[in-house]
């Protein structure tokens, strides 16, 4: 607790600085949101009335103060376009992005660690090289391109080679239009729609994790105590489980902590291509409509999750790695 409190204080300070940055950024942009709220034939007087109604006529620091005080009460303002509370807009969209990001994060670590383990400890050199080249290429592919490529494969590609119908996956939306199905059929429909978005999100992630896991397990298998263990006659499986995999877990946990903050921002393109109404798609819609309160609120939510994820990763590492604990509490090492 003594070590966790300063971190928590830092995180809150950081979030406050981020609100200043985003507020300044959005209000420094050219264009006047009040002109978007009135009809094109409106007089200057009407524009002024709208400006007063939304408090846009006050000096910037006053506007910022009012916004932050409301933020502390959990009030993010009202959307200029739909007149709904920004909080409700975010509450609708956030679960979808969280589910997409969370599931694909788990999939990419599970897949990536297995592939990396296989490459480092089981594969023949030629197979290892082939998989390394593949993972480098997949890791480099932009997600929107990968999404379109998979759509081609799952639709016209699958039809071309005469693949069975269950392989022709839907490439649009969260569920089939109508959505009248219930129970098991409903979940099956959802799952079929989720395959392509989750693949697009997990494949590059798994490729990155595999590259990293392969390297760290290879490094671990070269450690002197592994040679010592095998000289003592321990079985290969035992050495791998007890020493190699164990040693490479810490760098993987660190990587997990570094990946965590990007989880909900990672699906912007995937939501856009597959028309999933998540946070990224809502953000793009709000940006296109110059819906300032929504853009502002969502940016703060994005930054908040990053800061929170970093805090969690920091604290978890503090628990996992005793070396960090002594170093940070300032205890003399000699």
């Amino acid at each position: 607790m003594r070590r966790a409190l300063p971190r928590l204080f830092d995180a809150i300070l950081l979030l406050w600085l981020v609100t200043i940055l985003t507020f300044a950024l959005i209000h420094a942009a050219p264009g006047d949101p009040a002109t978007l709220l009135v009809s094109p034939t409106a007089t200057a007087e009407e524009v002024g009335r709208q400006r007063a109604r939304f408090g846009l006529d006050a000096p910037l620091p006053a506007q910022y103060g009012r916004w932050v005080v409301a933020l502390l009460r959990g009030d993010l303002g009202v959307s200029l376009v739909s007149s709904r509370p920004v909080r409700a807009v975010i509450a609708d969209a956030l679960p979808i992005s969280l589910a997409l990001g969370g599931i694909s994060l788990l999939l990419s670590f599970a897949g990536g660690v297995v592939v990396g383990w296989w490459q480092a400890l089981r594969a023949r050199p030629a197979a290892d090289t082939v998989v390394s080249v593949l993972s480098t290429v997949i890791y480099a592919a932009p997600s929107f391109w990968l999404a379109l490529a998979l759509v081609v494969l799952a639709t016209s590609g699958a039809a071309l080679v005469g693949a069975p119908a269950w392989l022709r996956l839907p490439a649009f939306g969260v569920e089939s239009p109508g959505g009248t199905t219930t129970g098991l059929a409903h979940w099956r429909d959802l799952a079929r729609h989720a395959v392509l978005p989750l693949l697009v999100l997990s494949l590059p992630g798994a490729a990155g994790v595999a590259r990293y896991a392969r390297q760290s397990m290879r490094d671990a298998s070269l450690a002197p105590f592994v040679a010592a263990a095998s000289a003592r006659g321990l079985s290969r499986g035992r050495i791998e489980r007890r020493y190699v995999v164990r040693l490479s877990l810490t760098p993987l946990v660190v990587l997990f902590g570094l990946t965590l903050p990007g989880v909900i921002a990672g699906s912007v393109f995937v939501e856009q291509v597959f028309a999933w109404p998540g946070l990224g798609r809502a953000m793009l819609t709000a940006i296109a409509a110059r819906d300032y309160p929504v853009v502002l609120g969502m940016t703060v939510i994005y930054a908040g999750t990053v800061i929170l994820a970093n805090l969690v990763a920091d604290l978890a590492l503090l628990r996992l790695d005793p070396r960090q604990r002594t170093a940070l509490s300032g205890a003399p090492t000699q």
Partner: protein
């Protein structure tokens, strides 16, 4: 026993024997060459639209309605896809390199200032870096590019303003490490002025890891530029960029998939080349 001194020529030979560096450099050189030379053989205005109905949506490796042969086919306006790919390469490579060079310059300046001045300056620069790192880079890019109006110049500036943080941290750490070494103290004792000491003696020895970060940054910047252009917030048509070509091919995806898929091949090649070079350089430094 004679001491062996590692001489520079040998070190460089060792670096060039790294297959990753060889392949990465060859790919990048090929891309630059193609981007410079290929459009020179094209028509006067590669974005011009003529004979749309006869020419459009020609599949790869076939002749269009007026008898011209196209290696990668034509797009919905009858323009040659391969020619536009190389035109887009000029924009994407240029934006990526320029954006990450500018970001690197900002990072080096702020990192050196933080390490050199210390105290309140250092703490403010570090806090600024933390604030910029707290907002996902893509979100920051989307908001700024959209609010300031899309375009080439905005994209470059925004890439620079959102990409300096890691370079700043690396340079600061390296300057702090180098400034206490014996040769720096020696130079200071000989009366070298502080500014010259930083510029001529410390910075050149502190930029190793920065070069690696900037190489990887080029690939990243190119990906982000293409992402912005894909969403319509980056390079605007009719100017070609890999991102807006993919976006333009999206509505023809099932009829003419080559329009959207071809740009991805060059995009991936570029990013792989940057990754390979970055890997080789960072491996070398260990």
């Amino acid at each position: 026993m004679p001491l062996t001194v590692p001489d520079r020529a040998n070190a460089r030979d060792g670096l060039w024997q790294d297959r990753r560096l060889q392949i990465g450099s060859a790919l990048l050189a090929g891309l630059c060459l193609g981007a410079v030379i290929w459009p020179l053989f094209g028509s006067a205005d590669p974005n011009a639209i003529t004979d749309v109905l006869a020419r459009r949506l020609t599949p790869p490796l076939s002749r269009d309605g007026v008898g011209h042969w196209h290696l990668l086919g034509t797009d919905a306006f009858g323009r040659d896809v391969l020619l536009r790919l190389w035109l887009a390469a000029r924009v994407s490579l240029g934006v990526g390199v320029l954006g990450s060079l500018l970001a690197g310059a900002i990072g080096i300046g702020l990192g050196a200032a933080a390490a050199w001045r210390g105290g309140i300056v250092e703490r403010m620069i570090l806090a600024l870096g933390d604030v910029f790192l707290s907002v996902p880079r893509l979100i920051l890019l989307l908001v700024t590019a959209a609010l300031w109006g899309p375009g080439l110049r905005v994209v470059v500036v925004v890439l620079a303003l959102t990409g300096w943080m890691s370079v700043m941290r690396l340079v600061r750490a390296d300057v702090l490490r180098v400034r206490v070494l014996a040769f720096v103290e020696g130079a200071a004792a000989l009366g070298v002025a502080p500014a010259r000491l930083l510029w001529r003696h410390i910075l050149p020895n502190a930029l190793g890891s920065t070069v690696v970060a900037m190489t990887l940054g080029v690939g990243n910047a190119i990906l982000l530029e293409s992402g912005l252009s894909f969403l319509g917030l980056g390079i605007q048509p009719p100017a070609a960029s890999w991102g807006n070509m993919i976006a333009g091919g999206r509505e023809w995806l099932l009829v003419a998939p080559w329009i959207a898929l071809a740009p991805g091949a060059l995009l991936i090649t570029t990013v792989v080349a940057c990754t390979l070079i970055g890997d080789a350089l960072s491996h070398r430094r260990r």
